[in-house]
Amino acid sequence: MTGPRLPTSSVLMTPPLLAILAFGLAPLTIVVVWSFWSWDPLTYWIKPDLSLAGYAAILEAGRWTVIVSTLVKALGTALLCLLIAYPTAYAVHFLAGRRLSIILLALITIPFFTSYLIRSFSWRLVLGRTGVLNTWLQDWGITHAPLEWLLFSNFAVVVGLVASYLPFATFPLLLSMRRVDPTFLAAAQDLGAGFWKSLTSILLPLTMSGIFAGFLFVFVMVVGSSTEVQMLGGAGASIVSVMINDVMRVANYPLAFAISTIVLVVIFGLVLIGNRIFGLASLFEDQSQ
């Protein structure tokens, strides 16, 4: 047998692994290491002297509350997304025919690959003082003056976040529903279970991994989001990523990276725990075999 040979797994792995190490692991290492360095507010220089000042500064100037409010926003958005995504996944998998389900699947896929910036920005046209919603509300006589809290508010931010990250909940739910053996549902039906009974006692437990994955993906995406707050948030509105950006205006790397380290610990912790309990990887992997 002559001719080229397919390299072994370790050779195949090398290029992607090098990219991940150089552009992924190296920056994250710098994040953790520099978060323990010290920063001189007079010269804006950072020095490799071990210091916990970065972490201490998180407790100042209300930065701690931004972290908490980010987690609350992430929790709320993730729950809202699940409430919309579960019926959507159900409709795509159980109700729609083949053609319709592919069309719906495409509609759910498209948002991943369109601009989050443009989609957030477009909400300004809908929620603004002279936006669509305010115009309608006044035309129909529901309100007499434009509602000010629609745009540049927490309301607008949460609406924007749900619109941005909803597909991140729908997808894992769909994958988990595909793995449900339909005979279980048929059996429940034969035994006299109605729709809600089958849903709560069969489908929900069997799709628990999808529910958790969907929650986790949205949660993690919101914790890392910045565009929605920058486009739709009110004056002084913040979220962790925006706060990191603000801190970097004075090149305070230790503080920026201390905040980043905490965020990364929360995110990776959740992903790894999720993988341990629910086997997140298998949700995607089984599709390939």
Binding site: M13, I20, T88, R99, S226
Partner: protein, 269 residues
């Protein structure tokens, strides 16, 4: 189907599904409609007023055109690299046994790193190594953003490669390289095309990482962001509308290919 939801429940399920789609699509589609309105004030154009005024004005916006060119170059290089690397990663994945899940997580995890943190940290690495910000530094950031998506798409496309095909080829004396070229590659080609298009779009539309990593020439989303916050002009609507439409068309193309079999082979399910 075998479950009887009842009419009321069906209506409820569809209503929520449609509401979700409206939340996702109504605002950008409205923006698209507004971009065809020749008036300065944003609003729905009357059918008789539809005009391409603002699109015609786009080529005169030198900053936008330059940024678009830069973004297209970066997106193309990112897509080529992400697709190639993800193919290697997927091949390695199927060679692995015990460490499969670990390898899967290694490739997927960068997707969860917030853009601000990755962009900022990567720019720190480059500054420290004496590497100047340029299109290459943006590509480095975008590569890790696009690879997890490309990897999942390619992994899924491997479902078309039945183990028995490879075993049969091996029995007939094909080396593993020939099996790859003659069997695996043709079967996963649709997946590779999708991975390429998805990576291209992810890079084209990526804002946060590019914000920190771009050199003198900013990418389109970074320039758009600046213009959106300094008094939106209708030209911004036109540029945003055009990019949104192009992105939707690309994904729709992939979907259409799978609705009408014959245009592309369906994977057996």
């Amino acid at each position: 189907m075998m479950i009887h939801e009842g009419l009321a429940n069906r209506i409820l399920l569809w209503a929520i599904t449609i509401a979700g789609l409206i939340v996702i699509y109504a605002p950008p589609l409205y923006l698209l409609a507004v971009s065809f309105n020749p008036a300065l004030q944003p609003g729905l154009p009357r059918l008789s007023d539809l005009s391409l005024t603002w699109y015609a004005a786009l080529p005169k916006e030198r900053a936008l055109v330059g940024a678009l060119q830069q973004s297209l170059i970066i997106a193309t290089v990112t897509a080529v690299m992400a697709t190639g690397m993800s193919l290697l990663a997927a091949l390695a994945y199927f060679e692995l046994r015990a460490q499969r899940t670990a390898w899967f997580l290694t490739v997927i995890l960068p997707m969860f790193v917030p853009g601000v943190i990755q962009g900022l940290a990567l720019s720190a690495v480059f500054t420290r190594s004496g590497i100047k910000a340029s299109s290459l530094t943006v590509i480095a950031g975008h590569l890790l953003w696009a690879m997890p998506f490309a990897f999942i798409v390619i992994l899924t496309s491997f479902a078309a490669v039945r183990r028995s095909y490879l075993v049969a080829a091996a029995d007939l004396g094909a080396t593993r390289w020939r099996q790859f070229v003659d069997i695996t590659l043709p079967l996963i080609r649709p997946g590779l095309v999708s991975a390429f298009i998805f990576s291209f779009l992810l890079s084209l539309n990526e804002f946060t990482r590019a914000f920190y990593l771009a050199g003198r020439q900013n990418t389109l989303p970074v320039v758009l962001f600046g213009k959106m916050n300094s008094g939106a002009s209708p030209v911004i609507y036109a540029m945003s509308g055009a990019i949104f439409l192009a992105s939707v068309a690309c994904v729709a193309l992939i979907a259409i290919r799978s609705i009408w079999p014959g245009a592309g082979k369906r994977s057996p399910r």
